[in-house]
Amino acid sequence: MMDMSTLPQNVRASQPDAITGYRTFQLGHFEFSRDAYFVTVKWPAQGTQHSHQMHADAFLRAMMRDIAWGFFYGWVNFDEVLGTRNHYGKVDLYAGSFNASYKAAGVDFLEQFDTPVIMATFKAIMKDWVNEGFDPFAAPEETGTAFGAKHGDNVAAIERTRIATKRMPGLEGDSPLRDDFPVNRQFNDVAQDEPEIHAEPGFEKELHAFNLFKYLSRSDVTWNPSVTSVCKESLFCPTTEEFVLPVFHGNDRVEWFLQMSDEIVWDVADKNTGEPRARVTMRAGDIAAMPADIRHKGYSQKRSMLLVWENATPNLPKRYESGELSPYPVQF
């Protein structure tokens, strides 16, 4: 059990509950608590307290991504009520702020935090609430249950960090390949051959190639992109996907998907209201944009390879929000 003295300074938490063993956390005016099956979030609105409940597994999978992605680009909706919005240095935590019904009823609430403060709290929540045997990065078939009273922890699983790549994995001084990782059970049929590199003497460090599909077949996480090539601010961030994206991602810029294998279906909804916009079925070789005014959530019934393509150009959020840039990447 986590000792209070090990809580980072900025994290406000109760003693462990006598019955469930879980701590309750305060972040600004928000309160997060969990029990055997659920996570409950409370916030003030209209002079009283409102609350919202999520299944613990869904909540932990969502919060894990928010942490691993460093709050990512734009909006990370844990579900239709709760989420974060990244302002890069500061982060909004909100309940109902991007839900048409909550907004209309005036029971929404949003509070901004310095990134280190919210990050420390989120990490402390995960450390306390993820039980032994539950891996929030894993596909359902690969992990134990998130449910029940507190039993143990799984710090190794939740402290995986996203690999930073400068140009391309395997280049000297750059991020490592994954040859030490086992091939995932759902990619046993993916060829494990490597390209032949025939460099002339003196050019051994300049020529470089690797098997991207092999690399992806050895990913031990789902829905967790990592960079494999950098062309200025253009980032290829492929990832392996199984089951469901634990968040409904609302980007503050245009994002592209290239489906490298198998199939993902995307539910697309309005970024501000959550109202449904489209369902996009992408199969191997399909490429499509996720406009800057939507949120998206993917379903992958078989583990699949998805190339997420991001644009890290500075100041994009302002340029999209001001209307300078169209939310749609191509006019035709």
């Binding site: 140009r167 391309m168 280049l171 059970r185 759902q186 049929d189 993916v190 060829a191 051959d193 390209p195 032949e196 590199i197 025939h198 460099a199 002339e200 050019f203 300049e206 020529l207 190639a209 690797f210 098997n211 991207l212 599909f213 092999k214 090539s229 062309c231 200025k232 253009s234 810029r253 592209w256 290239l258 490298m260 294998s261 198998d262 199939e263 109202e275 449904p276 916009r277 489209a278 369902r279 996009v280 079925t281 992408m282 199969r283 191997a284 070789g285 399909d286 490429i287 499509a288 944009a289 996720m290 406009p291 078989k302 393509w309 644009n311 939310p327 749609y328 990447p329 191509v330 035709f332």
Partner: protein, 164 residues
């Protein structure tokens, strides 16, 4: 175990969009294999565009022109077998204008030193380093995607390739 399904020039199954509100065009949805199957060899067809940045789908067939860019580019072979040959020019920075963006087509192989070659199969990725000339060679038709910046050889034909 369910088989892992990749696409190919010979076999791809394009997905679809169900619109509830809005337009299919907003998603600029195409398929790299379909695009490559309808394109002349090594046409750099833009299938993804994020401001100036692009992903191009290329039908690999025979030898490509020699190319170069002032910045790193990357290629992933999505179908077939492709060899990439590299030449380091004798004069550094002589192939693409300084600070230029996108892929330049060279007038044949440039003066310089052979750096060697890489043989890529499906799923293999190679770097196309800044300032270096490169050429694709494919004995049989295949498909490449190239990560680069919109340049003089990029071809945009969204109306022809996208779901509407």
């Amino acid at each position: 175990m369910q088989q892992t399904t990749f696409g190919s020039l010979e076999h791809f199954q394009k997905g679809s969009i169900e619109i509830i509100k809005g337009k299919a065009e907003h998603y600029a949805f195409s398929n790299i294999y379909e695009v490559a199957s309808g394109a002349p060899p090594y046409q750099k067809t833009v299938v993804g565009k994020n401001l100036k940045f692009v992903i191009e789908s290329l039908r690999a067939e025979g030898d490509s022109p020699w190319y170069a860019a002032a910045h790193d580019e990357f290629v992933v072979v999505m179908d077939g077998d492709v060899t990439v040959h590299y030449i380091k020019p004798d004069v550094a920075g002589s192939l693409a204008p300084a600070d230029s963006e996108g892929t330049y087509t060279l007038d044949g192989a440039p003066q310089g030193k052979s750096m060697g070659y890489v043989k890529l199969g499906r799923g293999h990725q190679a770097i196309l380093p800044a300032g270096v000339a490169y050429q694709f060679r494919a004995a049989k038709p295949g498909v490449l995607i190239v990560q680069t910046i919109l340049g003089p050889n990029s071809v945009e034909k969204w109306n022809d390739i996208c779901l509407q």
